[in-house]
């Protein structure tokens, strides 16, 4: 099982979020556009990361959009579908 802390620290490294610590990222806040403010290029980086680290591949954009909604949604998805 991946913890919230571990996922947050992986994302901080992936997106090069300088000076941000895990405590500052709310579990239920949006990741994209509002909230953390990630953009479409970050979304692609996240897709590549999930494939490389957890063997997760989405069949369409709508599916990934639901999963990318928040840290909690992402964490739940990885814990269900990811190769851990």
């Amino acid at each position: 099982m991946i913890t919230t802390e571990r996922l947050k620290s992986e994302l901080i490294e992936l997106f090069n979020l300088e000076g941000v610590n895990a405590g500052e990222i709310a579990e239920d806040a949006p990741l994209f556009h509002e909230g953390l403010g990630l953009d479409s290029v970050d979304a692609i980086e996240l897709t590549i990361f999930l494939d490389n680290e957890y063997g997760i591949v989405f069949s369409n954009i709508a599916e990934s959009e639901k999963v990318f909604a928040s840290i909690r949604a992402l964490q739940d998805y990885i814990n269900i579908h990811g190769k851990l």
Partner: protein, 367 residues
Amino acid sequence: MQKKRVFVNAYESLSCAGNSAELMEAVYAKKSGITIDTSYMPEHKAGLGIFATGEFFASLVAVTQAVLRKSGLDDFKETLLIVGSSVGGIGKSEQIFFKEQSYKNINPKEHAVSVISDTLNGAFGFKESRSISTACTSSTNALMLGQRLINIGAYDNVLVVGADALCYTTVCGFQALGVLSDEKCTPFQKGRKGMNVAEGIAAVLLQDRQTEESVELCGSAGSSDAFHMTNPDPEAGGAISCMQKAIEDAGIEPGDIDYVNAHGTGTPANDTVEALAVSTLLPHNPCMSSTKAITGHTLGASGALEAVIACEVIKRQKIAPQASLQEAENMNVNLPLEAVDQKIRYVLSNSFAFGGNNTALVFGALK
């Protein structure tokens, strides 16, 4: 100061559709030169524009030689060369690195953008040369600067050469961004899938003297979106700004534009924003088409290649149709499905690049 007028007096090009004459035949026949390729990415098909024959640098010299012949000049000794290229010599560096996993045998001078001007200086001996590298507006910006230098009388002759070879970096890079189509691109189409990367070479001679065959380069302008590195401003502010300023620079009104040669890459983002920009600025609804449906997107060469097309459209007084279009996404723009004979006084040619860099050119028929 009094601006000297600028005339396009000779040009030649090479794309996947062939030389300029072959290209225009393909444009009017709506025959795409794109092929579906799996050599760059075996797991992904890619719609690419690939030259039928010829090594890139040899073709570069040949195209420039053709312009010299057409120009009536004895040589290029009194001509400034301005190159527009985004790739330069990356292709050769890639091949060396893939083979050797080391940079040792890469010649930095053959890697850089300046390899294009070095090759041409070696073959022709220009008075002076400069190279512009602003991604997809490279040779459009080169034309803009060339126009300005002739306007102020700094040079009488400027040869603008746009040149970009296919390479793994751009093919795989656009795939990584999710904008490369696995089919022939369909600019302005509802539900379009993306762009086709292509190689291209175009050489355009600008001079301060008018001939019977001249097309005038009347105006140009650039702008920056200041919005995002790769996504265009959805409100089209930057695109509208550069088009408007280019039209003002030409000393004409928006209503004088008879044809728009669009940037029209076939990506969801670009074409939506460009259609909005054109319908907002040019409500008289002039014909518009993207000839990238024929040539693909030749990146840094696209400005010069599409300048050739703009000039040919003016000389032939025949609108280029929008190839590969079934159903337009934006019904407020006029995308002719067939070639149209009509009076064409002014053509607007757009280029939009990474970094939100935008440049527009206005070409005019001789009065």
